[in-house]
């Protein structure tokens, strides 16, 4: 019987070789995937993505949950940056957070919705006036991600990490100024505290300062280093060890000298995405390492 089979195969030798080769390649790929699954990073990694004049931060929590906060303007940079951070076969992001509906924060998310599978989309519920906001809603709908409205006091917990929503609260949500509706996040993980402030102005910062947040390790400097944000009161209250300014070519004079001097006044190390490109901070619980691209 085997002889007959063998004869049959040798008749179609060429086809058999091709089939066998194809199977081998596929096997190798699948095994590579399985091995990659076993390797989960236990450090906290925060990336301040170089997306030009706009905001986008990508956080990988210890244990591997991926959170993207904002996507920068529509220039495809957020996608390229994500592609260089994530393994090529990873097409999933657990949580997408939109700080507030301004084009330099959400437009890049349209592409992210179009290209990644997303677990949940967290936002304040405030809709934007920009014409491209309809594109965002459309892309979100097609993506099939879950929508979660968040506000002050909400908390995301994963293993030892927790993300607390500090703002906005009801009164801010009614503000005409979109920047006031920014979702402000406090990330506690690996003995470190990081503040993501979106585009909030001094008015909100000063209220946060009154809450005695304590010293902050890493601050995502508000509003690309605008002089109307990063008030002296706020900066003195939180004394960030590391300040990262997400900024690109712009006509507003961001980041302003006032902001830079307030930050350096408390001894903070300042990094900016226009000079340092994407800034990556790795925290293992005992130390904090900063990498520039």
């Amino acid at each position: 019987m085997f002889d007959a089979l063998f004869q049959k195969i040798s008749k179609h030798r060429e086809k058999a070789i091709i089939l066998f080769g194809a199977l081998c390649i596929l096997d190798a790929v699948i095994y590579a995937q399985i091995f990659a699954l076993g390797k989960v990073n236990q450090d906290l990694a925060i990336h301040f993505l170089n997306v030009g004049q706009g905001d986008s931060q990508f956080v990988i929590l210890p244990g591997g949950v991926k959170v993207l906060i904002d996507g920068g303007p529509a220039n495809g940079k957020a996608l390229s940056e994500l592609a260089s951070i994530l393994p090529a076969t990873d097409r999933y992001i657990d949580i997408l957070i939109m700080s507030h509906p301004q084009a330099d924060h959400f437009s890049g998310l349209i592409d992210v919705f179009k290209t990644y599978k997303i677990g949940a989309f967290l936002w304040s519920g405030r809709e934007g006036m920009a014409t491209s906001f309809a594109d965002l809603k459309e892309a979100f709908k097609t993506n099939g991600a879950m929508s979660v409205i968040i506000g002050k006091g909400d908390r995301i917990k994963y293993k030892e990490s927790s993300v607390l929503v500090l703002a906005p609260w009801k009164e801010l949500m009614e503000s005409k100024e979109l920047n006031d509706t920014t979702v402000v996040l406090e990330l506690m993980s690996k003995n470190s505290k990081t503040l993501f402030t979106g585009d909030i102005g001094a008015n909100i910062e000063n209220q946060l300062a009154a809450w005695k947040l304590g010293q902050v390790d890493i601050l995502k400097v508000s509003h690309h280093g605008s002089k109307y944000s990063s008030s002296k009161l706020f900066i003195d209250a939180i004394k960030p060890k590391l300040s990262i300014i997400e900024v690109g070519k712009n006509s507003y004079g961001h980041p302003t000298d006032q902001t830079l001097s307030r930050l350096s006044g408390v001894g903070s190390s300042i990094y900016r995405t226009d000079n340092d490109k994407t800034v990556r901070v790795i925290i293992d619980g005992a130390s904090m390492k900063v990498f520039k691209n």
Partner: protein, 482 residues
């Protein structure tokens, strides 16, 4: 002269007229020259009664007809009255699938108010517009600049350019259109690539399968230029030929040649549909199919008229194609390469048609090499500087192009049935793409530039040498036979 010769030579002289017209030959001057030459040959005929001279007299007149046709078409194109550099407000309809790039989208609209001229708009990437949308546009229309760009746009029948005009969406196209439907398929194919692959690889795969460089980083575009591989993302008959012939190879592995051939042509037509059925793609497909037929038929003389007829039709539809469309030139030269150079090379190495080898690699290699040799000067002059390494990079990458396309299309089809199924298949694509990107970037970095410059003289000398080689082999063959 026999009737098929009459057809061949009349078409040829007409096309020569179109080439002269494209190169700027004046109407009046060419009229007088043609008249003078025609008359001279006619007088010669009167004296010698040699019929050949009568024919030449008529054919030379056809050159003028060609120049006239080109001029007439150009004048018609430029007849639209457009108030350049003035603040304008008009309604336009999107006529082709918008080209979405990272930082902008390029849209071609037809404006009724501007004598139905086509205007190119460069606007923000979002909100994203679609084929058939009606838009209200306000801003200043500029004349395209510099000249090369203007010629390129004229070939696409685009008359003016607007940078960041104010655009307001009015309505979507209500009625069903086949083109809109096909563009929908094209978009869904591209979307599935972006869902499954990282951005760079997804953009590259989209470029290979559907053409275009949207989503390419400037660095990668530069790398493709340096390695001389940009042409693989420009859909041309040359590309379609490579693919069609790979498809044919697969089919003929299982089926008879005739059925495989029919299936291949069918796949090409389907592909044209998916790629958006733009004029340039249709041209490419026709040329691609011609090349396939050429290779199948293998008889150059019976084929001559088919080629010239196709080109004639294309020139009548859009006379600017002949001189200003690189894709067309690539296809045409590849076709000539396979028709004439391939048999010559076979004779040189004493290769017989029957000895195909594993997966008929000899056959494939032979066709690639002959097509490649025929197009090299165009590839080099149109897609970047002359780099010696481009020959190596192309030899490595070209055979993988149809493989990547095949895997790409399978992925796109499976994607609509099962996301995870497609994800697994996309890993194969990923390996292929990563390898190709590696090759492109490697040869971009290690490109050895030849500073000959691609002069007109070089091109002439190159093709002169090729023709000499073909003729020499042809003669040698004759001697052997008789």
């Amino acid at each position: 002269m026999r009737s098929y010769d009459i057809f061949f030579f009349s078409s040829l002289f007409f096309l020569v007229g179109i080439v002269f017209g494209s190169l700027g030959a004046g109407l009046l001057l060419s009229f007088w020259i043609a008249l003078f030459m025609s008359a001279s040959f006619f007088i010669l005929y009167g004296v010698s009664k040699n019929k050949r001279q009568l024919w030449i007299a008529c054919l030379v007149a056809l050159v003028f007809v060609g120049v006239f046709y080109y001029r007439w078409d150009d004048a018609r194109f430029k007849s639209a009255r457009i108030p350049f550099e003035k603040q304008m407000y008009f309604i336009g309809k999107i006529m082709a699938d918008p080209n979405a790039k990272d930082e902008k989208q390029e849209i071609v609209v037809k404006a009724h108010k501007l004598d139905d001229a086509n205007i190119l708009l460069k606007v923000n990437p979002y909100p994203r517009f679609s084929y058939g949308d009606i838009l209200a546009i306000s801003g200043k229309i500029r004349e395209p600049f510099p000249e090369g760009y203007a010629e390129y746009l004229a070939k696409e029948r685009v008359r003016g350019v607007m940078n960041s005009p104010e655009v307001e969406f009015i309505s979507k196209q209500e009625e069903f259109s086949l083109k809109g439907f096909l563009i929908g398929i094209k978009r869904s194919v591209a979307d599935s690539f972006y869902k499954l692959l990282p951005k760079k690889e997804a953009a590259f795969l989209t470029g290979i399968t559907l053409g275009g460089t949207s989503g390419f980083s400037p660095e990668f575009k530069e790398a493709m230029k340096k390695s001389g591989t940009t042409h693989i993302v420009a859909l041309s008959g040359y590309n379609i030929m490579i693919v069609g012939w790979a498809v044919f190879g697969i089919f003929s592995y299982f089926l008879s040649r005739r059925i495989s051939f029919a299936l291949t042509v069918l796949s090409i037509i389907t592909f044209v549909g998916i790629a958006g059925a733009e004029a340039s793609v249709v041209r490419a497909a026709i040329m691609g199919i011609l090349v396939l037929i050429a290779r199948e038929a293998g008889r150059t003389y019976s084929f001559r008229n088919a080629v010239v007829f196709t080109i004639l039709m294309m020139a009548i539809v859009n006379p600017k194609v002949i001189v200003f469309d690189v894709g067309f030139q690539l296809s045409f030269l590849a076709l000539l390469g396979i028709l004439y150079l391939r048999p010559a090379i076979m004779k040189l190495f004493h290769i017989l048609e029957e000895s195909a080898g594993f997966l008929s690699w000899k056959d494939n290699l032979l066709t690639t090499v002959s097509a490649q040799l025929a197009v090299v000067p165009i590839l080099i002059s149109s897609f970047g500087a002359i780099s010696l390494s481009s020959i190596v990079s192309n030899t490595i990458i070209l055979p993988l192009v149809p493989v990547a396309m095949g895997v790409g299309f399978i992925t796109a089809v499976v994607y609509h049935m099962s996301y995870y199924g497609a994800l697994v298949i996309s890993w194969i694509a990923l390996i292929l793409l990563k390898f190709k990107i590696f090759v492109i970037e490697f040869f971009a970095e290690h490109s050895i530039f030849l500073h000959l410059g691609i002069s007109f003289f070089f091109v002439i000398a190159y093709y002169g040498a090729l023709i000499f080689f073909i003729l020499a082999m042809y003669k040698k063959n004759k001697r052997e036979v008789y």
